[in-house]
């Protein structure tokens, strides 16, 4: 029993379809409970008032926006090394989801920033690097769409993903250097807090538990979407192969 069994498209589809209903349900429950708990059963924050509640959408989508790219990087590498088609299709399936997450994070951030910072947009390093990440997603998806031959497209986009990751990281540090930020630093998962050197409570527990629930829900939603979309891509390719075969026989 190894993970490479799921590189078989048939096996991948049958096994993901078995878990998909559970994934959809679990993510709906987590997001639903998390959002309702967060919106209606937690108090307003002392200085931010009710606007703090956008955190339940902003933080999970922002985390996924970055992690979707990391997932694409891993699946691209798997494709380049082991030539599993499911892996290449999974990175193709994840890209639009990641792009939408980036967009939601940017928009909710703007809506949150307007009352807090007094402006919809600031050229803050975090905001800027998210916009750059969005551009990387755009280019990646556009390259997939532009190339006819599926294997060539998979190869080229994988290389773009590898090189792009390096340059995206570089941009992250470049913009850090280029402008000082308004955005607060990492507040939820911090290495210093885990090893105990930093004991300051950055996000109050009242907000933390529903937020955790929302994060879990969004991660499940992402996994479900990627499984679902990868299955669709596999089927689309199978249809293409069938049509091509029919044309040859006719």
């Amino acid at each position: 029993m190894s993970i490479w069994e799921y590189a078989n498209p048939k096996k991948f589809i049958t096994s993901t379809e078995r878990v998909l209903p559970a994934l959809w349900a679990a993510s709906a429950v987590c997001i639903g409970v998390g959002l309702i708990w967060g919106f209606f059963f937690t108090g307003d924050e002392a200085r931010q008032g009710a606007t703090v509640k956008i955190i339940y959408l902003h933080v999970p989508t922002a985390m996924l926006a970055i992690n979707a790219w990391v997932m694409m990087l891993v699946t691209s590498l798997v494709w380049l090394v082991r030539r599993h088609h499911v892996s290449a299709l999974a990175s193709r399936a994840a890209a639009p989801v990641g792009m939408v997450m980036t967009l939601i994070a940017l928009v909710t951030g703007a809506i949150w920033g307007q009352p807090m910072w007094g402006s919809w947009w600031a050229w803050d390093p975090r905001l800027t690097s998210f916009l750059i990440l969005f551009l990387f997603y755009l280019g990646y998806i556009a390259l997939w769409e532009a190339i006819e031959d599926p294997d060539t497209a998979a190869d080229l986009t994988s290389f773009l993903c590898l090189v792009g990751s390096v340059f995206a990281l570089l941009s992250r540090y470049a913009v850090n250097f280029w402008n000082q930020g308004l955005h607060q630093g990492a507040s939820i998962f911090r290495a210093e807090a885990v090893i105990g050197t930093d004991t300051e409570e950055k996000v109050s527990n009242i907000f933390f538990y529903p937020l955790m629930l929302c994060i879990i829900g969004f991660v499940l939603l992402f996994v479900a979407l990627v499984f679902y979309r990868t299955g669709t891509e596999i089927r689309a390719r199978r249809i293409k192969a069938l049509i091509a075969r029919e044309r040859v026989e006719a």
Binding site: I132, L135, F136, L138, G139, A142, L143, A146, I147, T152, D155, L156, F159, L160, L162, V163, G164, F167, A168, L170, S171, A174, V175, F177, W178
Partner: protein, 218 residues
């Protein structure tokens, strides 16, 4: 290798439209900036380093689609790929030829255009130095983008979309060197970062470009 370099340079010079086009574009862009933002000298001198960098970057971008596409169309790229010279060197030479025909003239034109934009006097030196360090990276990164899109019919716009995000770190550090130099600040950190990006791109990216080109030539 030298023969290939000479061939590319000769083609760029004699085929027409390639050599001067980037420079002319740079000139027009620089003329259009005062026309669009207004002629106030203080405003112009504060944005001059950034405008010069942006203009040079766009001029570089503009000339990328002929970098590999012409050789692709007439089949000489296939010959080069089967030649004993490794494809990595071919790609590096192509990038070098692109830099000599596009990057270097841009570097030399930048101070002249700086006068038009009322660039502060200490800025001239740093604009030239930063462009001299940064344009090789632009050529090498651009070669990667050109190799990615070489097989496409209308790859020009797509290539811009792919290459521009990759240009961002170079642009940020390069323009920062020029900006700091122009107002007399310390430039060491961004200058080192810019040089680092250039050196790393020149050393590593030809391998990626050659790999991508091999996929496209399959």
């Amino acid at each position: 290798m030298i023969a290939l370099l000479m061939r590319d340079l000769r083609l760029a010079l004699r085929a027409g439209g390639g050599f001067g086009l980037g420079l002319a574009f740079f000139l027009i862009l620089t003329v259009m900036v005062p026309l669009s933002v207004g002629p106030q000298p203080a405003l112009l001198s504060s944005i001059a380093p950034g405008v010069l960098w942006l203009g040079a970057l766009l001029a570089c971008l503009l000339s990328l689609d002929r970098l590999l596409a012409l050789d692709w169309e007439d089949g000489s790229l296939d010959l080069l790929a089967t030649a004993p010279l490794p494809l990595e060197s071919v790609v590096s030479i192509k990038a070098l030829a692109h830099w000599i025909t596009t990057g270097l003239p841009l570097v030399m034109a930048a101070p002249v255009l700086g006068v038009l934009l009322n660039l502060p006097v200490p800025g001239f030196k740093w604009v030239v130095i930063s462009l001299l360090l940064g344009t090789p990276a632009l050529s090498v990164i651009g070669t990667f983008g050109a190799a990615l899109t070489v097989g496409l019919k209308r790859g020009g716009l797509l290539m811009s979309l792919l290459v521009m995000p990759l240009y961002l770190p170079t642009l940020i550090f390069g323009a920062e060197v020029a900006r700091r130099g122009a107002i007399g600040m310390d430039v060491q950190t961004p200058l080192l970062m810019l040089a680092g990006i250039s050196a790393a791109s020149i050393a590593l990216l030809p391998f990626a470009s050659a790999a991508v080109l091999r996929i496209n030539l399959r």
